[in-house]
């Protein structure tokens, strides 16, 4: 088993992006996943960075979404207001990748704080663009590690809406986007493909079982009828990640 949990998340995210056109990217794992998708199976993916960059061709692994290497050789670089108004709210983003410190069974995310708002135990980064990305992107993928303290019954703070309280709650709210489609973790994959839009376990990593996953989810977890075992990185995927995208192994 020659791969790391991070690489497993990267290849699963990349596979979920097959056929996508416009992807809203962050740095770190999501960035590597998008670039892997582009090189492995969907060269026509267009990357949009929150910092205002469209059509980037970075010559090195970007350190942050504001890395100058994203600007040099890009097709277009615009203001943050254009990025949020015209690109994101304008409805041009097909897929976005989001993370969080907590997620609930409807895919709602918390990246604001742990504890009470007035007296936080741990102050987290906050929304950044996540709140509007979750609302406006046509669909989004969640990437985070599977831990019991992250997969919670009740969020301490709802920063970015998933399927709210399930069913057609997003529609009633009038959100333009369809919400989270897939939760990609280091040990399992989940989707929301049921009328309740409730998180359902669909794949487990080699060595995991429905029970081992259940143990780290705080609510009674739905499990798909035909639970699959995840495929590890293919030789092609591994080669692109290790030789081209992250040669120094920063995200291994």
């Amino acid at each position: 088993m020659d791969y790391t949990p991070s690489e497993l998340m990267i290849v699963n995210a990349s596979r979920a992006l097959r056929g996508s056109r416009v992807v809203f990217v962050g740095v770190g794992l999501p960035n590597i996943a998008c670039n892997l998708a582009r090189r492995d199976h969907t060269p026509s993916i267009e990357l949009v960075y929150e910092s205002g960059v469209f059509g980037a061709q970075p010559a090195r692994l970007p350190l942050s979404i504001g890395d100058p290497t994203l600007v040099s050789r890009a097709s277009s670089v615009t203001s943050i207001s254009d990025l949020f108004m015209l690109y994101l709210q304008g409805g041009l983003v097909d897929v976005a990748l989001l993370g969080g410190a907590q997620i609930d069974k409807y895919g709602n995310l918390n990246s604001t704080l742990i504890g009470d708002y007035a007296h936080p135990k741990i102050r987290l980064p906050g929304s950044g663009g996540a709140c509007e990305i979750a609302i406006n992107a046509k669909r989004f993928l969640v990437i985070m590690r599977l831990k019991r303290r992250a997969f919670v019954e009740n969020l301490d703070f709802l920063t970015s809406p998933g399927h709210l309280d399930g069913g057609n709650a997003r529609e009633k709210m009038g959100y333009p986007g369809a919400g989270p489609q897939l939760v990609i973790t280091d040990r399992a994959l989940f989707n929301f493909d049921n009328d309740d839009h409730e998180m359902t376990l669909i794949e487990v990593a080699a060595g995991e079982t429905a029970d081992s996953i259940r143990a780290d989810v705080s609510w009674p977890l739905r499990v798909a009828d035909h639970l699959k075992v995840m495929e590890g990185p293919t030789a092609v995927e591994s080669a692109i990640i290790r030789e081209q995208l992250d040669p120094d192994g920063l995200y291994r």
Binding site: V22, R38, R39, H41, P43, S44, E46, V48, V53, F54, G55, Q57, A59, R60, D67, P68, T69, V71, S72, R73, A74, S75, S76, V77, T78, D82, M85, L86, Y87, Q89, G90, G91, L92, P176, V236, A239, I240, E243, Q244
Partner: protein
């Protein structure tokens, strides 16, 4: 190349073979070449109008006193499109000609004038006397039109602005409404979003995928491009993708919102394109004179639109001397360094 274009499976196979035999940058370039081939959006103006303009559509040919795509307007007239809703802040000669030709059912605008010359007589005939047919008008101020484009491009249900209160414009146009300020007293005027079926926008240059660079008066070209359902960009010249990528801040309209690119040098004549040519003022004056009379107007359309097959024929008719007289002269911007960051 045609074979490659029509066979994505083949491309993928080729890439899979390439992947392990060539190095990082060479590999990236290979992808880019193929992408560029696949995304080539260049078509002719005739094709653009055939594909993107249908009877009854709403059409925005924008450009504030500059970059006005007369080439598009004349082709729409030649293809005899009818019942169009013409959207444009300053209808100008271009919509005066389209209204004279009977293409329009309605006009959405903010200022009716032949800039620096006077009235738009064809539009006045339609509005005042219903000749050649009545023209419905929906009117705003400049900022109101800008707000409609911004709301349209950013999917806002309305755009607020400090205009209109106390004027007769909301009476003339009930789409101008108000909302209450939730942070204090009073109300503010709002306008609704607008999303034209198709926009025609002229620019200096683009790559074949439709990354468009404009300098000079930026008008509302960007907002219109994002607001419109289909976007046709008309350029003075196609440049290599690399030229665009060496100055990404100059890209006003990204390829993501562009459906087609038409290459039409001098396509904005008699308006101008910064750095490429000057306004042909004699043309504005001539139209100002001839359009006062219905027959002279029709003779003008016959001479300059119906009797010329396309923009090439129009330029031939215009003549080299007249075109040369519009020379812009040279004043180059100082190049800036973006850095390599490798």
């Amino acid at each position: 190349m045609k074979f490659i274009k029509s066979c994505p499976q083949f491309i993928e196979k080729v890439l899979n073979v390439l992947k392990f035999t060539i190095k990082k940058y060479v590999y990236m370039e290979a992808i880019q070449d193929i992408m560029a081939t696949n995304n080539n959006k260049i078509i002719t103006m005739k094709e653009a109008v055939e594909q993107y303009v249908h009877d009854g559509d709403s059409v925005a040919i924008e450009g504030f006193t500059a970059f006005i795509s007369f080439a598009a307007a004349h082709e729409i007239i030649r293809q005899k499109r009818q019942e169009l809703t013409l959207i444009r802040m300053t209808p100008d000669l271009i919509y005066d000609q389209m209204v004279a030709a009977g293409c329009a059912k309605k006009m959405v605008f903010s200022y009716l004038g032949n800039p620096g010359v006077g009235s738009l007589y064809a539009i006045r005939r339609a509005v005042e006397k219903g000749i050649p047919k009545p023209l419905e008008v929906e009117e705003y101020s400049h900022f109101g039109m800008v707000g409609r484009y911004i709301a349209g491009g950013s999917k806002l249900p309305f755009f607020p602005l400090q205009s209109y209160k106390g004027t007769d414009l909301p009476k003339a146009n009930p789409l101008i409404k108000t909302v209450k300020n939730p942070y204090g007293d009073g109300e503010i005027a709002v306008v609704p979003p607008i999303n034209p079926d198709v926009a025609f926008l002229h620019a200096q240059r683009a790559d074949a995928q439709g990354n468009v660079q404009i300098w000079g008066l930026l008008g509302m070209q960007k907002e219109v491009a994002f607001a419109s359902k289909k976007v046709v960009v008309i350029v003075e010249e196609i440049v290599d993708e690399e030229i665009i990528r060496r100055d990404p801040n100059r890209t006003l309209i990204p390829s993501i919102v562009v459906d087609a690119v038409v290459v039409e040098p001098y396509g904005a004549h008699p308006s101008y394109v910064q750095g490429y040519y000057d306004r042909d003022n004699a043309f504005y004056l001539d139209w100002g004179k001839r359009s006062r009379d219905l027959e002279a107007t029709e003779a003008w359309l016959d001479e300059w639109v119906y009797s010329v097959a396309d923009r090439k024929a129009y330029l031939a008719k215009l003549g080299k001397e007249r075109i040369d007289s519009l020379d812009a002269g040279e004043m180059m911007a100082e190049a800036v360094n973006y850095g390599r960051y490798e």
